[in-house]
């Protein structure tokens, strides 16, 4: 059986910009993934607030290799709440968007009622020294279960730091985790990191 032909960007955008059904818009996003560029962003942003279609739109935005996609996600944050907000926070983590760190830090601290676990996880995925520092604040000052979530995220961050030329920061983070979590999965992962050859 042959695959479904991939249509050009313009024809998919025409569907997204029309009053087409949820299904047609969902499939348009799934076709758009292959060919989407910055021109697709304006048609995708309105879908971010839809509980039904946001995941379809985010798949495209996560794939677009242009900073404009990250900016669109970041700009959408203040307009969203609930699951749509959590989804955009997750996408910013997937894209490892450093510009999002301050906004994610606020959400991770629980200032808003939504998006906290996703913000903590996204800081881990971004995994820069600044993101790790934001996680350390939650690790030392945050309430349970935020600390556990931050512990898991900090392991991911430490892996990024280790791979990306920040071995000392990675070691410091993993040593701190070993102390904070004297047993359990986070301890196991931190010890592994601490003893891994550079």
């Amino acid at each position: 059986m042959s695959s479904t032909p991939i249509k050009d960007e313009a024809s998919q955008l025409a569907i997204l910009n029309s009053s087409a059904s949820d299904h047609d818009k969902a499939v348009a996003c799934q076709m758009l993934v292959y060919v989407a560029g910055p021109k697709s962003i304006p048609a995708l942003v309105p879908l971010l607030e839809s509980e039904k279609l946001a995941a379809y739109a985010r798949s495209v935005l996560e794939a677009i290799d242009d900073p404009a996609a990250s900016k669109a996600l970041l700009d959408a944050l203040p307009e969203l709440q609930g699951r749509p907000l959590a989804g955009v926070v997750d996408s910013l983590g997937v894209r490892r968007e450093k510009e999002a760190i301050p906004a994610l830090q606020k959400l991770a601290s629980g200032e808003a009622k939504d998006g906290q676990p996703e913000a903590i996880a996204s800081l881990g995925m971004i995994g820069t020294p600044d993101a790790a520092a934001a996680l350390e604040v939650i690790l030392t000052q945050g309430p349970e279960p935020s600390q556990t979530a931050a512990g898991h995220a900090a392991i991911v961050a430490a892996e990024h730091l280790s791979r990306e030329g920040h071995a000392e920061e990675a070691k410091r983070l993993s040593r701190g985790l070993i102390k904070l979590f004297p047993n359990g999965p986070i301890h196991v992962a931190a010890v592994k990191l601490e003893t891994a050859p550079q």
Binding site: S3, T4, A26, A36, Y56, E62, D65, D90, P185, V188
Partner: protein, 426 residues
Amino acid sequence: MSITPTRRQFLKTTALTFGAPTFIPASALGRDGHVAPSNRIVLGAIGIGPRGRKVLSCFLKEKDVQFVAIADAQENRRETVRRMAMRAYDTEDCKKYSDMNEMLERDDIDATLICTGDRWHALASMRAAKAGKDIYCEKPCSMTIRESQELADTINRYDRVFQAGTQRRNVDNFRFACQLAAGGKLGTVEKVHAGILSLREDFSWLPEEPLPSTDEIDWDAWLGPSPWRPYNKKYTQGRWRGYYDFNGGATLPEWGAHTIDLCQWAAGADGTVPVEYEADGDTIHATYQNGVKLVMRLAGFKGEGDWVVPGTCPVRFEGDEGWVEAADSGEIKSNPASLVKDFPEGGLSGTDPSKHVREFLDCVKSRKKPAANADVTRYGHIVSHAASIAWRLGRKVRFDPATETFIDDAEANHMISRSRRAGWTA
């Protein structure tokens, strides 16, 4: 095993807190050939349908397993499994959970059996790993290349024992064939063949039906990381296969998770993947860096394809001094025929997971890596997904095994991952 003290502590604590039971069965004390509780692997299961029940029945037969919990989004499935446990143990102790996280929070559970639909395999496995559980997960274990990477990274991060449900690694005729090839008995391996089903991607939605109560079927949890679509009962009855949102890799990993995995072993390529992929209809040709060819070609439930050995999930390995072929019938054939003259007849069918389950349990105790560990699963699944992307694009794609990305190919790289629906991330 690393978490045994916690489990034993739990048993000790609960005994102190609640007092000793009035009746202690001989099996609980380790008499009558049973294994004492402190030496048993305590198992919970997630998402158990027909295939899951087959695998679970293998676990229930093992004396060093105590199955204690089922988590499933569907009450009828929870209850079916609870009754299985009741029949196996003659107790009412199997606890039902609609939320897998609640089950994973239990300190007394050592290992999880994950047999959900494909959409949940990687995510549930990663949640289990983060909770410190060992994992036996049905295949395909990932929806995308990215999930294949994330899954292996997470398993290794938390030092968990992971066995993919690619049980043919522990089925005799397949093992024998792989060992012939990898051991040089066919000469230099030149071409390996993986039987696959016809590729398909269905983007349609079934008509919307009224949502059942969440106590009956929690549709939101059933969908999990998949994008939203309206409820229709057929999906929850197993009719999710073939839909793009629920079946990764255009269904290629359905059998490819087994057959490509075996080809990787036979080609000595367990730690890498081919560098080129090109589709010709339902056949996909791939080439490893060393020139070995991987041909993914049609097989089926009705003997489709040009295979010598009958049965589903066939594989064929060709070297410059001979070939060997094996399939689910349990048969194996070779040229020269003498290569398989010592292979005993009457082995397991390719679909029988009993030896694979046993190997997993042994590895939970020894902390060794089982045959279908997270690393071989990563690479085998990446091949399936990369091949399906070549089919999807209808042209040749080149892949860099070091970066695990497509080379100079934005279209293909856009297909490496999919978003997870909010609320259902790792």
